[in-house]
């Protein structure tokens, strides 16, 4: 849930990168951390709790600040979840208080079933937390487009973006940094829009 601190004029929003194992969630954050243009104080440290083989164990965390919104400094907390089946409870913990989601799908043909299962798992975990995906802004990122066995984006849209309301989707190659910032900018825009719309409604 967005935290609005009236005293310090700060807004905190939590974005979680969700997706199948080794799909590119951590790579997204690494690229953002490495390449984002931001003042030193606006970009926090990338904290990665991972195994020796660099598989996310608990989460990756990157705090980012952006320009002021209506007099408020906006802080985004970017998290990734571990993708493996064994860490489902961990994913629930990381999902708590989520404001926005980026679903990072692996575009390889052989990963389609995992993509669909992980998406269903995400919905299930949100329901466990008494949340509904309908109420949470999210975007889809079709990663690993650079690989030769990448399925067409239209196929991924058919599998993952075939709900009543379609959401923005982005092709990406996170390892090359392609599509990473486009994805991030869209989800932050959606979150800020939701926040401003809701605050306007409350003021009225």
């Amino acid at each position: 849930m967005a935290l609005i601190n009236q005293a310090t004029k700060e807004i905190q929003l939590k974005i979680v990168y969700y997706g199948p194992p080794q799909g590119g969630k951590t790579t997204n954050l690494e690229k953002v951390h490495a390449e984002v243009e931001a003042a030193p104080e606006a970009k926090g440290k990338l904290t990665s709790l991972a195994t020796n083989s660099d598989r996310t164990l608990f989460f990756d965390f990157l705090p980012l600040e952006t320009t002021v919104v209506r007099g408020y400094k906006t802080k985004f907390q970017l998290f990734t979840v571990p993708g493996q089946v064994i860490y489902n409870t961990t994913r629930q913990l990381v999902l708590r208080g989520v404001d926005g989601l980026v679903f990072v799908a692996d575009s390889q043909y052989e990963k389609m079933e995992e993509n669909v299962q992980t998406f269903a798992n995400m919905i299930q975990n949100l329901e466990t937390l008494n949340q509904n995906l309908i109420n949470i802004p999210y975007v889809l990122q079709y990663n690993k487009r650079d690989l030769p066995n990448a399925a067409p984006a239209e196929y991924l849209d058919f599998l993952l973006n075939n709900r009543d309301i379609q959401v923005p989707s982005f092709s990406s190659s996170a390892v090359k940094g392609e599509g990473v910032f486009e994805t991030l900018n869209m989800i932050t825009r959606m979150l800020l829009h939701k926040l401003l719309t809701e605050s306007g409604r409350k003021a009225a």
Partner: protein, 161 residues
């Protein structure tokens, strides 16, 4: 990079014996040896209805988060964690760089005695894993690479002749 050295039956037998003796002498309910990724290598004691798979994963998460906090506050790495419950408590002790011993015990037992008996068990397991590593220094295991969601390659129909 591997989280565990290559383990053979003899290694597991030694770890099982150490855990079994620990459970018997300390009165703990359950002792699990978990790798750094939270995967259970072996366990002894009475698991009952406990979801040990999730317990292992969360214990590893907890330890990793605590180590990160220790780094932030410029402290030495943590070697043990204690969670006090009303009926059952949990003690997690690191076994060198190989993993953890996660011990579930009745709270009335007291963490001091459990920790005391765990020291020897941790040392015995550590010695055996070092021996395993020395036996095959370039080989190892990373249980995190087992992707349980994808069992497709496990069994395949033989191609027709």
């Amino acid at each position: 990079m591997f989280t565990l050295p290559l383990l053979i039956n003899e290694d597991i037998a030694v770890v099982d014996t150490a855990l079994g003796e620990f459970v018997a002498v300390s009165g703990a309910r359950l002792a699990l040896f978990i790798d750094c990724g939270g995967f259970i290598v072996t366990q002894q004691g009475e698991a009952g209805e406990l979801d040990t798979t999730t317990l292992g994963a969360l214990a590893a998460n907890n330890f990793a988060a605590t180590q990160a906090i220790a780094k932030i506050i410029d402290d030495h790495p943590v070697t043990s964690l204690y969670q006090e419950g009303e009926e059952h408590s949990l003690l997690i002790v690191s076994v060198r760089d190989f993993g953890f011993l996660a011990i579930v015990f009745a709270s009335e037992l007291g963490v001091g005695s459990v920790k005391y008996f765990a020291q020897d068990t941790v040392a015995r397991i550590g010695v055996q894993l070092v021996a395993a590593h020395t036996r095959a220094p370039d080989e190892g295991l990373d249980l995190a690479t087992l992707n349980l969601a994808d069992t497709g390659p496990l069994f395949r129909r033989r191609a027709a002749p």
